[in-house]
């Protein structure tokens, strides 16, 4: 079936995503930041659905929101942050940081203004009904080696995290 009210949902979801992003970097309390980040992640998952990428949207929800953000909240609760909330929230080089970010923004705008005519007009035809199967074939065909490397990376990360966080090994 064809999507409905695409324009409305695009502006709604992207507005939520950007709003969440702003809240993440301005909140004093890390738990509020984490909740704003969850809002952003869910909005981005909605944008993936609009881009006909349901599998990535599902992975985003199950891994990011259900996994990584729970980990963040868990650590925030383990680490007592009451003192940090009362201190100065921005570091000394914040002005330099803002200037660098503004420069990056200028770069992005220049690239998009100049480059938006270079996109192909014709969109690739991605069948939505077999999206999962397509991703799986690509993942276990072309990208099999990268997939194995990713599993190795996860193994290393698990060991590293355990070594870091454990009191006595």
């Amino acid at each position: 079936m064809t999507p409905v009210a695409t324009t409305f949902f695009f502006y709604f979801l992207s507005g939520l995503a950007v709003l969440g992003g702003i809240l993440v970097i301005t909140r004093r309390n890390p738990v509020h930041s984490a909740l704003a980040l969850i809002l952003t992640l869910l909005a981005v998952a909605g944008l993936y659905l609009m881009l006909y990428a349901p599998f990535v949207a599902g992975v985003q929800i199950i891994l990011y929101v259900g996994g990584i953000m729970v980990l963040f909240l868990f650590v925030i609760m383990l680490v007592n942050l009451d003192r940090a909330a009362k201190e100065d929230q921005f570091n000394k080089q914040w002005l330099v940081g803002m200037i660098a970010a503004a420069a990056l923004l200028g770069l992005f705008m220049a690239v998009y203004l100049k480059g938006k005519y270079m996109f192909p007009i014709q969109e690739a035809q991605l069948p939505e009904q077999s999206n999962v199967q397509e991703v799986a074939l690509s993942l276990y065909g072309n990208y099999l080696f990268a997939f194995e490397i990713a599993s190795l990376l996860l193994l290393v990360a698990i060991i590293g995290a355990v070594v870091m966080a454990k009191k006595r090994i």
């Binding site: 950007v18 993440v24 952003t40 881009l51 990011y64 980990l71 570091n91 998009y112 990360a157 966080a165």
Partner: protein, 101 residues
């Protein structure tokens, strides 16, 4: 209203990316710096998926790799955070100066 094109998605991704960069460069709290990194990775993912509308499925596959990477990064980063908090009782980035003298 004008139809939504790929450029619209790229602009949203750019906005998220800039917000993430600002967060990484200016905040003192390590937890929020890590969250800003997640924001940056999400902007990258949004770009990849938006381009996969134009050039085929590869962008989506790559964004799955990026999500894997984000999970690994979050686990190690938070592990370091806990180890550091145990020793120094602080979570501010600019007080992480053990290697500096």
């Amino acid at each position: 209203m004008a139809p939504i094109t790929t450029v619209h998605y790229l602009v949203v991704a750019a906005a998220l990316f800039i917000l993430g960069v600002i967060g990484v460069l200016t905040r003192r709290n390590v937890v929020i710096v890590l969250m800003s990194i997640e924001l940056i990775l999400n902007a990258v993912n949004l770009n990849l998926v938006a381009f996969s509308r134009l050039y085929g499925i590869h962008g989506q596959v790559f964004s799955i790799f990026v999500i894997t990477d984000a999970a690994a990064e979050a686990a190690v980063g938070l592990g370091i955070l806990i180890a550091f908090f145990r020793n120094k009782e602080t979570v501010n980035v600019d007080e992480v100066d053990l290697m500096k003298w």
